[in-house]
Amino acid sequence: MNIPLTSQLINMCAALLLLIAFAMLSQRRILSLINLFALQGLILAFSTALVAHTSNQHHLYYSAGLTLMLKVLVLPWVLHRLIRKLNIKWDVETMFNIPTIMLVGLALVIFAFNLAAPISQMAGTITKSTLGIAMASVLLSFLMMITRSKAVPQVVGFLAMENGLFFAATSATYGMPMVVELGIALDVLVGMFILGIFFFQIRVAFDSLDLHHMEKLKED
């Protein structure tokens, strides 16, 4: 089988993304988590650029640039600033059994591959197997959000999910129309902005970013 180098590289990136998703799933420390997120963004930008190169879709270069800007530079920077301001640098997550989570994650990956298999068959793009990985990383991020008990890691999980989606958009479909991508980027930015405000408010109201304080609204 003769797969062009770029394709191999993209597949490599996909594998790396998956690996990072697993790493994030098991990471306890917030700072490392953010760093992993930045790394994920970097790989994403790289793979987008690769796709742009192979498919000659020029707008994907903008996408790559946007990703680099937003997800590798701005967001991690904002997050770093936030945790410094809120003084939660040393927060350590208490999570339940990491091996179990990993096992569940593994099952999810298999499930996602399975799901994506028939679609990948018909994908005309060079990167047809990436859809499964994208879906897997979305699901893994989802799992991460479920298992995190602090606000910041949850948000990182949320952003990682966006990354997964973005990867799906670029690698599987050569990117969405530019308008849409700009819109999505704007939303992410505004969302982060709002979240930033939010963190401060929550911090003021609850004295902590621990989500266990936010279980008051319920059926009793």
């Binding site: 799901l115 989802f142 959000m145 995190r148 989500l211 279980e215 609204l217 059926e219």
Partner: protein, 669 residues
């Protein structure tokens, strides 16, 4: 009757409906108690009179109309056929007296409340008329629920009392659940072609299974409104809570809308009738009737007593419907016509007699401020005019000849007696048992009515406040006299009435009693043949009345009329206080004893050494604990379980969404 004015009866009926609505609005605008009472309500009675006239004229012909309201493809269809005309006649005739009574009853109410009540009252009337007129499912449901809603607001007129609110709640809840069931029944009957008109439903053929579903849903839905077991719980709560004219209207007229609905669905809209529907209705009706009358016998609140009595009568009417269905299913049309006639007759009778009694309780309530039977006694001396009117009411209610209650029971028993020969052995066995149960219920009704009348009007006053009681006012008496006239006329001239009922039986079961019912003249009622059964109420009345008069005259003539007044003898007991009479509880005691397994009795028996012993007994509906409480409990349990899902942890919420996603993905794969 209205032809010379170029109007169809249905136009007149619609005119009256509009007139009522205008009156209601006028009442809301007037905000003046005296004006509303003495002006609006008598006008409303005139409307009722016109309505009754139009309905009488409309019995013989079918007229339709379409109002440009409603759904886009489904304007409001109206139809005045014999069945609706009969029930509109019932509505009009019975509401005359109620409106006149209201003119007197409400005159002292606060203006703001009265104007609101006036609006609700007239919407209630108008929506009932529209229920009878409706010829498509949508219009029917709109009118039906408007009726429920307006009557709910009428029931909660006195909403400061928690009991009243509770009653209103229970009422509307059960009514609404019933309405959903009715709606579903229509859903079955429209059978997917999206045409909700009744005429389309008439032409739809349903399989036996679906027809049965439709029938059962309708029976459940309408039964909830009628107070058929086990959906009766609202009735004894709501009727006492409402102002008396409203109770009269609800009991006398509104319950009949449910009867109308059952008849409409089972005999008109569904094209097949299965015999077991009839057997089921029959059994249900009997249980309801017996249940109602037994509980009526042990009540201590006069309006609750009447409410339970209404349950009984609805049961009897349902028995009639059941019989009709059985006969109709076996193509015994003559018998079906007889049973149906009895059913309709009883519905009409009940409208008059129960309204009369409820109106009477209104006068008593106004005169004494009491509802508890234990506080009454000897009112015949304080309210003699009312006592006479009420005597007619209880005699009719007890099903005694020559009044109207007897006629319908007589017809129904005739239908039972003629039923042998059904091609189904079990039914043949069921029928005599049913007849026996019916006879038992009828006899118990006598017990109940003696208790009702005796405890309120006879004996010595049990409470000192009764000394200030005054007789019913003029308007109130006029209203009740209308009812009394109805009771007597229906009792004395059955052959004449049946001639008019024939239009309905002809329409529903394609047979009528007309040819035979009056074959020996209007004097005698002979439903099938003179040799088989006949009844001449006028003769009876004349003989009993005449016999009494002759006896009086003879005794006066032959002996002497000397009379002395003295203290009561009472076997020589010296102390004669009011407390020595039977209380309402006491009077019901034998029934309570016999049927104790049937009810939930809470007793407080005084100790033998108590110097001021007070016996206290309360009877509760066992079905409440057997049926309603479990439903409530299950509801709470499910609610608690469901509530646990929403426990405030965002992780779990995410997990739900995650699992949902995975499940769906797995599903489509």
């Amino acid at each position: 009757m209205f032809d010379q004015f170029g109007m169809l009866p249905i136009d007149v009926v619609l005119g009256v409906v509009v007139f009522w609505l205008v009156l209601g609005m006028a009442g809301l605008a007037l905000q003046n108690s005296r004006l509303i009472a003495q002006f609006i309500f008598p006008l409303s009675a005139i409307g009722s009179l016109v309505l009754a006239g139009a309905a009488l004229a409309g019995l013989g012909e079918v007229s339709t109309a379409i109002l440009p309201l409603g759904l886009p493809d489904l304007p409001f269809h109206l139809r005045l056929d014999a069945l609706s005309a009969f029930f509109i006649l019932l509505l009009g005739a019975a509401s005359i007296g109620i409106a006149l009574f209201s003119a007197g009853y409400f005159r002292r109410m606060v203006a703001a409340e009265l104007s609101l009540l006036c609006l609700e009252y007239h919407i209630f009337l108008a929506s009932m008329a529209l229920v009878f007129l409706a010829d498509d499912a949508y219009m029917f449901m709109v009118a039906w629920e408007s009726m429920a809603l307006s009557s709910y607001f009428l029931v909660t007129t006195d909403h400061n009392q928690p009991d009243v609110r509770r009653a209103g709640f229970l009422y509307l809840l059960i009514a609404h659940v019933g309405a959903i069931a009715i709606l579903m029944s229509f859903g079955v009957m429209q059978s997917g072609h999206g045409d909700y008109t009744f005429s389309a439903m008439r032409h739809t053929h349903l399989s036996d299974f679906w027809a049965s579903i439709a029938f059962l849903l309708a029976l459940f839905g309408f039964g909830a409104k009628a107070g058929i077991l086990p959906m009766h719980a609202w009735l004894p709560e709501a009727h006492p809570a409402a102002p008396s004219p409203v109770s009269a209207m609800m009991s006398g007229i509104m319950l009949k809308t449910a009867i109308y609905g059952i008849l409409r669905v089972s005999l008109d809209l569904l094209d097949t009738q299965l015999w077991w529907w009839g057997a089921f209705a029959l059994a249900l009706g009997l249980i309801t009737a017996l249940f109602g009358v037994i509980f009526a016998a042990v009540q201590v609140d006069m309006k609750r007593l009447l409410a339970y009595s209404s349950i009984e009568n609805i049961g009897i009417i349902l028995v009639g419907i059941g019989l009709t269905l059985i006969f109709h299913a076996f193509h015994k049309e003559a018998l079906a016509a007889l049973a149906l006639t009895a059913t309709l007759y009883h519905a009409l009778n009940h409208a008059f007699m129960k309204s009369l009694l409820f109106l009477g309780t209104g006068s008593i309530l106004h005169a004494t401020g009491e509802r508890h039977l234990g506080k009454f006694g000897g009112l015949i001396h304080k309210m003699p005019k009312l006592a006479i009117l009420m005597l007619v009411g209880i005699l009719a209610m007890a099903g005694l000849p020559p009044l109207n209650g007897f006629v319908s029971e007589w017809l129904l028993l005739q239908a039972f007696l003629l039923s042998p020969g059904l091609p189904h052995p079990y039914l043949n066995m069921l029928v005599p048992v049913a007849a026996a149960a019916l006879a038992l219920a009828a006899a118990l009704a006598g017990f109940v009515m003696v208790k009702f009348y005796g405890v309120i009007f006879l004996g010595q006053p049990r409470d000192t406040t009764l000394a200030h009681a005054h007789d019913a006012g003029l308007w109130e008496r006029i209203g009740m006299i209308c009812m009394v006239i109805g009771c007597i006329a229906l009792g004395i001239f059955p052959a004449f009435v049946i001639l008019h009922l024939d239009f309905v039986t002809e329409m529903l079961v394609h047979h009528s009693l007309g040819s035979s019912a009056a074959q020996t003249g209007w004097l005698l009622l002979t439903p099938i043949q003179a040799e088989r059964a006949s009844y001449g109420p006028l003769v009876l009345l004349l003989i009993i009345g005449g016999g009494s008069l002759i006896t009086v005259l003879l005794v006066k003539k032959l002996y002497h009329g000397r009379l002395r007044r003295g203290p009561a003898w009472d076997c020589g007991f010296p102390a004669q206080t009011a407390r020595m009479q039977d209380t309402a509880e006491g009077f019901g005691q034998p029934i309570r004893q016999i049927f104790e397994w049937f009810m939930d009795v809470v007793r407080q028996v005084p100790s033998p050494f108590d110097l001021h012993p007070h016996y206290h007994g309360e009877t509760h509906d066992r079905l409440w604990n057997l049926f309603y409480v479990p439903i409530k409990r299950v509801n709470e349990i499910i609610g608690n379980q469901v509530g646990k899902l929403q426990h405030g942890r965002i992780h779990m919420y995410l997990l739900y969404s995650f699992l949902t996603l995975l499940a769906l993905l797995a599903f489509i794969q």
